[in-house]
Amino acid sequence: MPWSKIKCDIDEPDFCRVSDGGNRRLGYAEAVREALEQAMALDPAVFVMGQGVDDPSGMFGTTLNLHKKHGRERVFDTPLSENGLTGIAVGAAIGGMRPVYFHNRPDFLLLTMDQLVNHASKWSYMFGGVVNVPLVVWACTGRGWGSAAQHSQALQGLFMHIPGLKLVMPSTCYDAKGLMFSAIADNNPVIILEHRFNFKHKGYVPEHAYRVPLGKGVVRRTGRDVTIVAVSYMATEAFKAADKLSKEGIEAEVIDPRTLRPLDEELILSSLAKTGRLLITDSGWKTGGITAEIAAMVAEKGFHFLKAPVRRVTCPDLPTPAGYTLEKVFYPDEAHIVAAISELLAGHDGLH
């Protein structure tokens, strides 16, 4: 089993800064691409499929020219039959392969829900553990340029709801590579939801193959006054907000959960035990979403730590508008986080 040779690496270099952990810097897409290339070299069972994976843009660069190195048998374009092809990937996984199925937008994952939810997530449990589905499904949430209601949905809440699916949302180049490795090595269906704005990043990425473990979050910044749990791209906004708050003497601790399912509850609760205040921020919707679930978990397991009500910074419960004046108010950013934390510390409950 070649996957056991790839060690879990939980040392996380400092976020969004030139790292002292190493000086090899890669762009986000290159980090994902390197993981795929190394995984394919490591294990002949790994293959990459998806609409446009071998096209000139190579899925934002993540699959660029992989077919030239590994051949079109293992890196192939697909018909736009999202549900059928998901079932085909499930079948291939049951048959001993490790498919990685790329979609450029999570919106298209809605067409795959029968095979993901009724089949991939059920196969192990429903058959008493005698069959398993080592499948990775990858999609990148769009943002900006008028992508609008059907090309920029952040649907992580839907996937977090499903037992039998693992849900990964990286925010750094280092994690993008290490979590891709862990997802491919996992013997279960794993959804990786990327965010288009993460692709602006460059960061420290070791050249060797390494795994970032699923279910382990990371403290991106330590602080004593308030805990910010920030998912995917919102970790970047949270980090900027924390820097601003620091100038006002407020020290925020920023936690990046990295995987939503399994969720590193312990990390969140232990930070909360220290700060007593919690803000959760996600690029998806508020109602029934990621922030709702984390808030509920904290209400059940960490209520006694709370000195103030939990605050959430998310997109409003609306389809994404196209026009840029509307987009500007639709998307939350560091200013929303700063404002919410200022209120939180001032004792406002956020209901006004």
Binding site: S81, I88, A92, D114, W123, G128, N187
Partner: protein, 323 residues
């Protein structure tokens, strides 16, 4: 009938065994000890048996909610199947699946789906794995006319043709989806019959004739094994029982008792039995001994199931994820 005697006898025995298992389920279902919705394939045995007689142990199949026949014809363990119907820990799915979710990986039955059409792309994907691993296996998917309404069939067949995968689509057309006749759901014959045979071999056969099914699917399986791509075989048959549960549903009134009786008259087992006796392939004594043997095996399977332990509630959380 130009087949060797052992093949003819095996085809008959396979059908009779599936029939007797289902009749036993029917006769005991009212006891409410099999607490799982059963979907019987009485009258459709020729499809499962005729197709699987062409398959090797390591050829894959995928199946549906009406899957008892496919499981048994592929060589699935009878005791484990009956134990699954009793939701026992010794069931093929350890009591987590029930009647609609049978599996036996030792004979490459990789699990049946109760989402209509759900198994079709999975079998297609198994064929993709076979191709990528350069194995000499064939993948077969059994699905009904309800699944032929679903878009995923089109998606899967298109991909199989595109990649010339070693997959055989067995369209088991029993004419009903619950109480809806196919004429209320489809405007005509499925489109795949008009595909060029160079791209995909297609046939329509009498699904109540085990020899017709055996012959057509045999060609399909050999083509797949030879790397000549997918096939689509429509087996026309009839669901003589109700959608789920035991017994006739003639009283519901969505079809006439005469229609059901007419199809019961085309029983694939009775007609084949008649042929075998006429041609002196077997005699009455052979058949009586065969049935006795089968009933004994069924007795044992039901005893095994009823005496098996139920899953322990403390193990509710097992198996969600593989290690």
């Amino acid at each position: 009938m130009d087949y060797p005697r052992d093949i003819l006898v095996a085809l008959y025995r396979g059908m009779l065994r599936i029939r007797e298992v289902q009749l036993r389920i029917e006769s005991l279902y009212h006891q409410d000890e099999m607490k799982t919705p059963v979907h019987l394939c009485i009258g459709q045995e020729a499809v499962a048996v005729g197709v699987c007689a062409n398959l090797r142990k390591d050829d894959f199949i995928s199946s549906s909610h009406r899957g008892h026949g496919h499981y048994l014809a592929k060589g699935g363990d009878l005791k484990a199947m009956i134990a699954e119907l009793y939701c026992r820990e010794t069931g093929c799915s350890k009591g987590r699946g029930g009647s609609m979710h049978l599996v036996d990986v030792s004979v490459s039955h990789m699990g049946s789906s109760s989402i209509v059409g759900g198994g079709i792309p999975i079998a297609t994907g198994l064929a993709l794995a076979v191709r990528m691993k350069k194995e000499n296996r064939v993948s077969v998917t059994f699905f009904g006319d309800g699944a032929a309404d679903e878009g995923v069939l089109y998606e899967s067949v298109n991909f199989a043709i595109l990649k010339q995968l070693p997959v055989v689509f067995i369209y088991e057309n029993n004419q009903f989806s619950v109480c809806s006749h196919i004429s209320a759901r489809q405007g005509g014959q499925v489109i795949f019959h008009s595909t060029s045979h160079e791209l995909m071999y297609t046939r329509i056969v009498d699904g109540n004739s085990v020899l017709d099914v055996y012959e057509a699917s045999g060609i399909a399986v050999e083509r797949a094994r030879a790397g000549e791509g997918p096939s689509f075989i429509e087996c026309k048959t009839y669901r003589v029982r109700g959608h789920a549960g035991s017994g006739s549903d003639a009283a519901l009134g969505y079809r006439t008792a005469e229609e059901i009786a007419a199809w019961e008259g085309k029983c694939p087992i009775a007609s084949f039995r008649h042929e075998l006796l006429n041609r002196k392939v077997v005699d009455e004594m052979d058949l009586a001994n065969m049935r006795k043997e089968i009933l004994l095996e069924i007795d044992e399977a039901f005893q095994f199931a009823r005496h098996s332990p139920l899953p322990d509630g403390k193990n509710l959380h097992l198996y969600l994820f593989a290690e």
